[in-house]
């Protein structure tokens, strides 16, 4: 295995043209740059039309880039040899209706360059891992959406790819199935497989991804760990305090700060929510409240969710904020 990044994209542009005589242009990617290390689970987030699918398709070689570089395991994206090391689970996977799970794995395995013997050796284990072993000989016509999704996962992993692209992998799965997929992802990560996850389920991305990129209108708006994103985006910590004392003292303690919210809980009892830059700011705030004679009966440090970061970044408000 080379030590090159699993995925390396630099100043990637993609412009679609539509129409022969008077072609209209649409810039789907506008200079995207990112790197995904080998063995990493990387999440790509973005609203509809952000360019996520285009980026994945460029990396898979389904769509041609207009400008910039896109490398996969050190090879140009779309290179046929490079594609041998890629697994892909598309969104809304459609498996031809005349196939069974076994024959589908046979077909796609051979398309990936596996021999029939190799496929037979891998097939059973994979179908067991996605809980389809008992339905292996059934026509896919009889499969539910969740079963098809699990079969797609098996197809994507059949040839032991180094990089797996997954588009909404838990779509259509029940909570148990989702948990099962998360386990599979963790196992793959443990095996050193790089996973590029494209999902709308922000909580899931938050749960499994090492790093996340947020793409909007063809531009990477943020990239990093979930924590880094929260800090970078919201520039500080959010804390909640339950206080007992006079309101005038509270306001005096905050010394003219405007970025707080105060809610009355009872007679001389208040809940105070405010944002601070760092822990030193928290300490200073607590000191100031205490010096004004206020009793602190509760202090809660609030963790900022990825969803909040996402919505805030895209300029959309949430109830929580």
């Amino acid at each position: 295995m080379s030590h090159a990044p699993a995925i390396e994209v630099h100043e990637l542009h993609k412009t679609y043209r539509d129409g022969l005589i008077f072609p209209r242009r649409f810039h789907a990617l506008k200079g995207v740059s990112l790197q995904v290390a080998q063995g990493e689970i990387f999440g790509l987030l973005g609203p509809n039309g952000a360019g996520k699918t285009t980026l994945v398709k460029v990396l898979l070689g389904v769509v041609r880039k207009t400008q910039g570089t896109a490398m996969l395991l050190g090879r140009p994206a779309g290179d046929r040899l490079g594609r041998r090391s890629i697994g892909y689970l598309p969104e809304n996977l459609r498996v031809p209706r005349h196939l069974t799970a076994n024959s589908a794995l046979d077909l796609y395995g051979q398309l990936s360059g596996l021999s029939s013997g190799e496929i037979r050796r891998r097939r059973q284990e994979l179908l067991e891992s996605v809980d389809l072993a008992s339905r292996a000989k059934d026509s896919v016509k009889k499969y539910s959406k969740g079963m098809l999704q699990r079969l797609g996962l098996a197809i994507a992993l059949l040839h032991r790819p180094q990089v797996v692209f997954m588009d909404e992998p838990t779509d259509g799965l029940d909570p148990g199935g989702r948990a099962h997929v998360r386990q599979v992802l963790q196992r793959l990560k443990a095996e050193g497989t790089t996973i590029f996850l494209n999902s709308h389920l922000l909580q899931e991305v938050e749960m499994v991804c090492d790093r996340v990129a947020i793409l909007d209108k063809g531009i990477v708006r943020r990239i990093g760990t979930v924590d880094e994103l929260a800090v970078n985006q919201l520039e500080g910590l959010k804390i909640r305090l339950q206080l007992i004392g006079r309101e005038a003292d509270v306001r005096a303690a905050l010394d003219g700060r405007a970025d707080y919210q105060m809610k009355t809980l009872g007679v001389e009892a208040y809940e105070l929510t405010l944002r601070l830059t760092d822990q030193a700011g928290v300490d200073a705030c607590v000191d100031s409240l205490r010096s004004h004679g206020l009793s602190i009966v509760g202090l809660e440090r609030h963790r900022i969710s990825l969803e909040e970061v996402f919505l805030e970044l895209l300029g959309l408000k949430t109830d929580k904020s």
Binding site: K57, V63, P90, L93, S112
Partner: protein, 761 residues
């Protein structure tokens, strides 16, 4: 290759998983089961029918003459066994010149009487048939005890006893007749053709027609509809990205899908054609392995249509659009083919020159319709003169022969299959009268060729020998029989010039004359004979058997100098020494076709043959033992329809329908050309339709490839020529549709591959 093979293999899985495939396979099975009980049985030819005779009156007359003579003879016995009333009726039939309905009524009654005799167990008396050569079949039946003969065998024996003495008045008939059966029961009236001819018709017409319709139309249409979603489905977003993410070439993936789509038709066509092959073999004894070669041909036919469907699927990704565009393409191909065929018939084929005759200073041409034309050197065009031909495919013009003594043309239109071929009228046209056609005397019975004699007059070669036109030509109005005219003469303008005893020639026949000696060479059903001219009469000369697989095949003959060339329907050209009839050379210049015309130069050095595939070959006898047929390097090869040698030794070659070019035969140097300006129709045909047709795919013409594959030859008479080698034959162009369609398919698939390769999905 593994990924692409996997795609193809998957297509087979998909086909087998398709309900439509199984429905079609069941339908094919039902169709084959319905065909399987078909068969035929051979029955001995016994009963007399009207169509058996060339001249039934002559038979009756001859029988009665023998009866009245009272000497031992077949006629004495036959008429003696008939009741008095029947003899009277025969006499009326033989002597009266009844017309129309009454003629046929009398004939029917006479035949009924003769047919009654067929049941008689003691018709044969040795003394009555002592002078008759009865032949093997009759002798074998006679050697057996009459009581042991079945009723069918007895009837056959009696028929032979009645027919053989008067053979020259009968049409050549096979000894058996065929009845089509279904599950053993006869479903057709007896058909008077040989088993060989019946199997030829089944092999060349019925099976190709059946396959062309069932496979070429129904199965292909079903396959187009069924396979139309395959390519659009490939572009379904849910499966395309997964496929394109695999380490495979997009173009090869598309081509594999395309090939896989052909799996559907391959399964159907293989099943159907293999089934037909087995039925044809088991039920009709036709084990023609070439039939199996139709499988790849029809697969290719489907490939042509499917390429259009596939490229439509790539661009529009919609199965309905695929079907609509493919059917539209089918329609356009059909229109182009029909337009070309119609223009070809109107502008070219009906005008095509098939014979050239030098009449003094005038060049006379005969076209495919039997119309004669004169080359007008001033106007540079062909002028219709003499005969307005309406023969069509079933007719033929005997002659024209140029009568130097009277400076006139002589010809006779005859029908190949008509009842009255032997009773045609001789037409004459004098140059002084502008070659206007005037009816002359009736031709002698059984005339099959008109030739010039050494004095520039006419010889009619008949099944009995040579008749020479000697008297003045006069005629009386034709006899009206039903809706036909029987020409008849008042005087006796023809004189029988020998040989004695008279010949009994059986069709197929051909004849040629050597000038200036006037000797005549005749081919008749596997026999070549020479009649030598002594003074004004003919005496038998050398005779030689011509071994041939099919005795019913047609022939053409040319005699020049000391050489006779005999062209046979099986494609062979036999060269004989004229004095000894020793075979000098046997060759088959082109395996794909057979000769139509063979002519000799007057000095006997050059022989030329035009094959039915419109190619011209030359033989230079001056090269002696090394002489061989060579394809002539003249323009228009592949489109040549006639050849002749003029009196000055130059060679005239007709090509491009109406163009006649003159060459020096030794060097093949071009001398001059007689070509009328093109008409509007011809311009449209040659400069628009021909180029369009050339570049257009021709799926409908793959029928010609099928015919070629089944027969192994480019030309065939489809069993319709009746042994006439000069009758126009169907000329298949087996590789033309393959070539143009293959180029089309390659272009379409390449365009689809380029599109897929460059397109973002």
């Amino acid at each position: 290759m593994r990924p692409y093979l996997a795609i193809i293999k998957d297509s087979f899985h998909e086909a087998f998983a398709s309900r439509v495939l199984w429905i079609l396979l069941i339908l094919i099975t039902l169709g084959l089961c319905a065909l399987a009980p078909l068969g035929f049985r051979s029955e001995q030819l016994t009963e007399f029918r009207q169509g058996d005779f060339l001249n039934a009156r002559a038979v009756a007359r001859e029988m009665l003459r023998q009866y009245e003579a009272g000497l031992s003879s077949p006629g004495l016995r036959i008429c003696g066994q008939l009741p008095e009333s029947a003899r009277k009726m025969m006499a009326e039939f033989a002597n009266e010149e009844a017309e129309g309905r009454s003629y046929f009524e009398q004939l029917r009654q006479v035949l009924d009487a003769w047919n009654e005799l067929l049941k008689q167990p003691d018709l044969y008396r040795q003394q009555d048939w002592a002078d008759v050569l009865l032949g093997n079949e009759a002798r074998e039946l006679l050697e057996r005890d009459a009581a042991q003969l079945s009723s069918e065998e007895l009837a056959r024996l009696n028929r032979l006893l009645i027919q053989i003495p008067y053979e020259e008045h009968f049409r050549p008939q096979p000894p058996t007749q065929m009845v089509i059966t279904y599950a053993g029961a006869g479903i057709s009236p007896p058909i008077r053709i040989s088993q060989r001819r019946l199997t030829q018709i089944i092999e060349q017409i019925v099976i190709p027609g059946l396959i062309s319709f069932v496979v070429g139309v129904i199965a292909v249409l079903a396959a187009i509809v069924v396979t139309s979603p395959i390519i659009p489905q490939m572009f379904d977003p849910g499966s395309l990205s997964l496929l394109l993410s695999k380490p495979i070439s997009r173009s090869l993936m598309f081509l594999s899908k395309f090939l896989g789509g052909c799996a559907f038709i391959l399964i159907n066509v293989t099943y159907l054609i293999a089934g037909l092959w087995i039925i044809a073999g088991l039920r009709f004894g036709i084990w023609n392995h070439r039939l199996l070669l139709c499988i790849p041909i029809f697969l290719f036919l489907f490939v042509i249509y499917y390429s259009v469907s596939a490229v439509s699927g790539v661009i529009w990704r919609n199965a309905i659009v695929c079907v609509v565009l493919t059917v539209l393409f089918w329609f356009v191909c059909w229109i182009v083919g029909v337009a070309k065929g119609v223009f070809e018939q109107l502008a070219v084929e009906s005008q095509r020159i098939v014979r050239l005759v030098q009449a003094g200073e005038t060049l006379i041409a005969v076209d495919e319709q039997g119309t004669t034309k004169r080359w007008n050197t001033q106007e540079r065009e062909w002028e219709q003169v003499f005969v307005q031909g309406e023969q069509g495919p079933m007719g033929r013009l005997l002659g024209p022969v140029y009568d130097t003594s009277g400076n006139m043309l002589l010809a006779a239109p005859v029908g190949n299959h008509g009842l009255f071929r032997s009773s045609s009228t001789l037409l004459q046209g004098k140059e002084s009268d502008g070659w206007r056609s005037v009816e002359g005397p009736a031709l002698p019975e059984g005339t099959f060729e008109l030739l010039p004699d050494p004095h520039g007059r006419l010889l009619a070669v008949t099944t009995s020998g040579i008749e020479e036109l000697s008297g003045e030509m006069e005629s009386k109005p034709a006899l009206q029989v039903f809706f036909m005219e029987i020409p008849q003469s008042l005087g006796k303008p023809f004189r029988f010039a020998g040989p004695e005893p008279k010949l009994k020639l059986a069709a197929p026949t051909a004849a040629s004359v050597r000038l200036p000696t006037g000797d005549v060479a005749i081919y008749s059903r596997g026999k070549l004979l020479v009649l030598n001219r002594r003074e004004n009469d003919y005496v038998p000369g050398e005779t030689v058997e011509v071994p041939a697989e099919d005795p019913e095949q047609g022939a053409a003959i040319a005699w020049g100098g000391d050489t006779i060339v005999l062209a046979l329907g099986d494609g062979r050209l036999l060269t004989y020494d004229a004095s000894t009839l020793q075979l000098i050379n046997e060759s088959r210049p082109d395996e794909r076709s057979e000769p139509r015309w063979v002519v000799a130069s007057q000095d006997g050095r050059w022989f030329a043959t035009v094959l039915h595939n419109a190619t011209l070959y030359l033989l230079d006898t001056a090269q002696g033992a090394n002489a061989s047929w060579q394809e002539a390097e003249v323009r228009g090869q592949g489109d040549i329809s006639a050849v002749a040698f003029s009196a000055d030794g130059t060679m005239l070659v007709a090509d491009r329908a109406q163009r006649v070019s003159q060459y020096q035969p030794e060097s093949l140097a071009f001398i001059s050309s007689m070509a009328p300006p093109l008409t509007g129709l011809e311009i449209a045909y040659y400069y628009f339709l021909i180029p369009l047709h050339a570049v257009f795919p021709k799926p409908s013409e793959l029928d010609e490839t099928v015919q070629y594959v089944l027969k192994g030859k480019e030309t065939t008479d489809l069993g319709m020529s009746g042994g006439d080698l000069q009758a126009k034959r169907a000329h298949w162009h087996p590789w033309r549709p393959i070539r143009s369609s293959l180029i089309f398919v390659l272009i379409v698939l390449t365009a689809a591959c380029v599109y897929i390769q460059r397109q973002d999905f």
